[in-house]
């Protein structure tokens, strides 16, 4: 007689919860040493619900199928030289930012969820964490494969893993994840699953994936579709984990609120890099950063927090500052990269007339008033004296590690300075949000590896830009500097049959 087939619920019970056991000769506290120190109180781990009831056999079957399709498409992309179909070679720089900034975070997430899976005492979250850990590893791998085709034709992709640990602006995403991973398991999942994947993920994924679609980058679009079903599972788990903690004990509420406040602000500052990508780096724009923030944070996020109000959770602290900043964020950040484009692994450029018109239309209150004059000046400088760069290193925020380019919430003409003193030393911040995070855990953030300070300490290959670039594994004149004079652009023109223009670009670059 054949065995009766189990239904989904039975199968989930057998293959997750039933695999756990009560320890008999070791105490639970010794086995799960990180379960209690964060202050979160859990009475009944079995109350954890996995809405997907995912089991390992189903996971394997489904993911294998998806990946077979993905790799077939990537193969076809390479065979057809589809990298030539993107709107413009400038677009490739957003992929460089993605590969050097985001892909290593997928790998870090793989490690982080492996750790939370190990440290949660309940079988439900152990299993969910493990699946997500495997997802993140797959995403890192598929991103690398997807983008590898571009590495054959464009500069700046060659040593992304090495760059992630060294390049000044990549310390922003790196330190974000290091902060989360060095926290306990509950803070980690609040940071990554809830604050980042649930509240803010649309603002990371949508711009890159829709940006890819708008700019005819079919390789990245294919990856995006492949990852989408995993992302929706991650989002659901992010909300689940929050509700679980809040429902288990009301003493958890202030702790969770503090983490939401912190990780909203950390995530928002990280997304500043995405804001400039949306407004400046996509040759065909999807929507402005301001529009995206209104739709995905103010509307969707607002509704979410209304829903969470019954648990005693309010909107994250300083959310109103993010709203005040929405019509200047991308312009301030692109200015950073234009200032220090000689030390970056991407090319930078000024928006052309059409793009400036788009920016004026999208940012009627700020663009013409504050930013257009700056761009006009830089353009004139480039034409008359060569490309302008800032030749002194910037002051960085101790918490988010971004150059202190952000302005006062109520004054777009004044840099926002905040500072704290701790054990006799001063620390500086770009915002009240970053200052509060430091003040809450100074022993953690006094250790921040700030790229500018590290250069001055002599830990980054030397004191000059070329020496530091060498230490970054960047080739001066090839991976950095202005797009207009770049090898990337010259190659692109050549591939498009514009040989004479290509020669002119190379000639100009050689003379500078």
């Amino acid at each position: 007689m054949s065995a009766k087939r189990m239904n989904l619920r039975e199968k989930y019970q057998r293959m997750t919860r039933d695999l756990a056991w009560k320890p008999s000769y070791q105490s639970e506290d010794d086995i799960f040493p990180q379960a209690k120190y964060e202050g979160i109180i859990i009475h009944d781990w079995d109350k954890w619900e996995d809405p997907f009831r995912l089991t390992v056999d189903a996971y394997w079957k489904y993911q294998a199928e998806k990946e077979r399709k993905l790799y077939a498409i990537i193969e076809a992309f390479a065979q057809n030289n589809a990298q030539l179909n993107v709107t413009d070679a400038r677009y490739i720089n957003s992929l460089k930012l993605f590969l050097t900034g985001v892909t290593p975070l997928e790998y870090a997430a793989h490690r982080g969820f492996a750790m939370s899976g190990r440290n949660f005492p309940g079988a439900g979250p152990q299993v969910s964490s493990q699946f997500q850990s495997i997802d993140e590893l797959r995403h890192a791998q598929t991103q690398i494969h997807t983008i590898s085709q571009y590495n054959k034709y464009f500069n700046g992709f060659h040593d992304w893993r090495h760059m992630h640990d060294r390049v000044w602006y990549l310390s922003v995403p790196k330190s974000f994840f290091d902060d989360a991973m060095s926290a306990g398991p509950f803070e980690f999942v609040t940071a990554i699953s809830f604050s980042f994947e649930y509240v803010l993920t649309n603002l990371l994924f949508m711009p890159f994936m829709s940006g890819a679609a708008y700019n005819d980058d079919m390789a990245t679009v294919t990856f995006g579709f492949s990852a989408q079903s995993d992302e929706s599972r991650h989002m659901t788990l992010g909300l689940e984990v929050i509700k679980f903690m809040l429902e288990q004990d009301e003493r958890n509420v202030p702790i969770v609120q503090k983490w939401i406040d912190k990780w909203f602000w950390r995530g928002y500052r990280l997304l500043a890099l995405v804001s400039m990508m949306m407004d400046y780096m996509l040759p065909k724009r999807v929507m402005s950063w301001q529009e995206a923030w209104e739709m995905y944070f103010e509307e969707n996020g607002g509704a979410l927090f209304e829903d969470l109000a019954r648990y005693g959770i309010r909107m994250p602290k300083y959310w109103e500052v993010s709203v005040k900043e929405k019509n200047r964020l991308s312009h301030e950040v692109w200015s950073i990269f234009y200032n220090y484009g000689h030390a970056a692994a991407i090319h930078t450029w000024l928006p052309d007339e059409n793009e400036m018109a788009w920016l004026s239309e999208k940012y009627p209150e700020t663009f013409d008033k504050y930013y257009r004059p700056r761009f006009d000046h830089w353009r004139k400088h480039h034409q008359e004296h060569g490309r302008w760069y800032n030749n002194t290193l910037p002051m960085l925020c101790q918490t988010c590690q971004i150059p202190m380019a952000f302005t006062e919430p109520d004054d777009p003409t004044q840099i926002c300075y905040r500072s704290s003193e701790y054990k006799g030393m001063q620390y500086h911040f770009c915002s009240d949000g970053c200052k509060d995070i430091f003040d809450d855990e100074p022993e953690k953030f006094v250790q921040a590896w700030l790229p500018v300070h590290q250069i001055y300490q002599g830990n980054c290959g030397g004191a000059s830009v070329p020496e530091v670039l060498e230490w970054y594994h960047l080739k001066h004149g090839q991976d950095n500097l202005e797009y207009l004079d770049s090898q990337d652009r010259a190659n692109w023109l050549r591939w498009k049959g514009l040989t004479e223009q290509a020669e002119a670009v190379l000639q100009k670059a050689a003379n500078e």
Partner: protein, 119 residues
């Protein structure tokens, strides 16, 4: 506890003054001139006279700005660590209270950046 940890954890500050080869870090910002996207960070000898900072360090940072040559230095307003400051041009930085990781800001009344737009 100044960090959430499973034991009495103490972090080691990465940027103490002894790590900068006899220099101290000083931050410098020119208000309302955001063409320079952020304030600057430079390592300087603690006994460098303030006048040397103005004459030898600041031009390298800022003389590419069209407002630079028009600055009337007698009218410049200084802030050190957020407090109004009257520099003594002959005295060293440390001797007038500018220490490791101090922030020096200056304002140039009447010069409000490119096109008066704080750039």
């Amino acid at each position: 506890m100044a960090v959430k940890a499973t034991w009495d954890y103490r972090g080691e500050p990465k940027d103490t003054e002894d790590k900068f080869h006899g220099n101290q870090l000083v931050y410098v910002g020119w208000d309302q001139h955001l063409m320079f996207c952020a304030p600057h960070c430079v390592p300087l000898p603690p006994d460098m006279p303030f006048g040397a900072l103005v004459k030898e360090v600041l031009p390298g940072m800022y003389d590419s700005h069209p407002d630079w040559s028009q600055i009337d230095w007698d009218r410049v307003e200084w802030l050190v660590d957020s407090k109004p400051f009257q520099p003594d041009m002959d005295k060293g930085l440390r001797d007038q209270g500018i220490g490791h990781k101090s922030v020096i800001r200056f304002r140039t009344p009447g010069l409000d950046g490119i096109a008066g737009a704080a750039s």
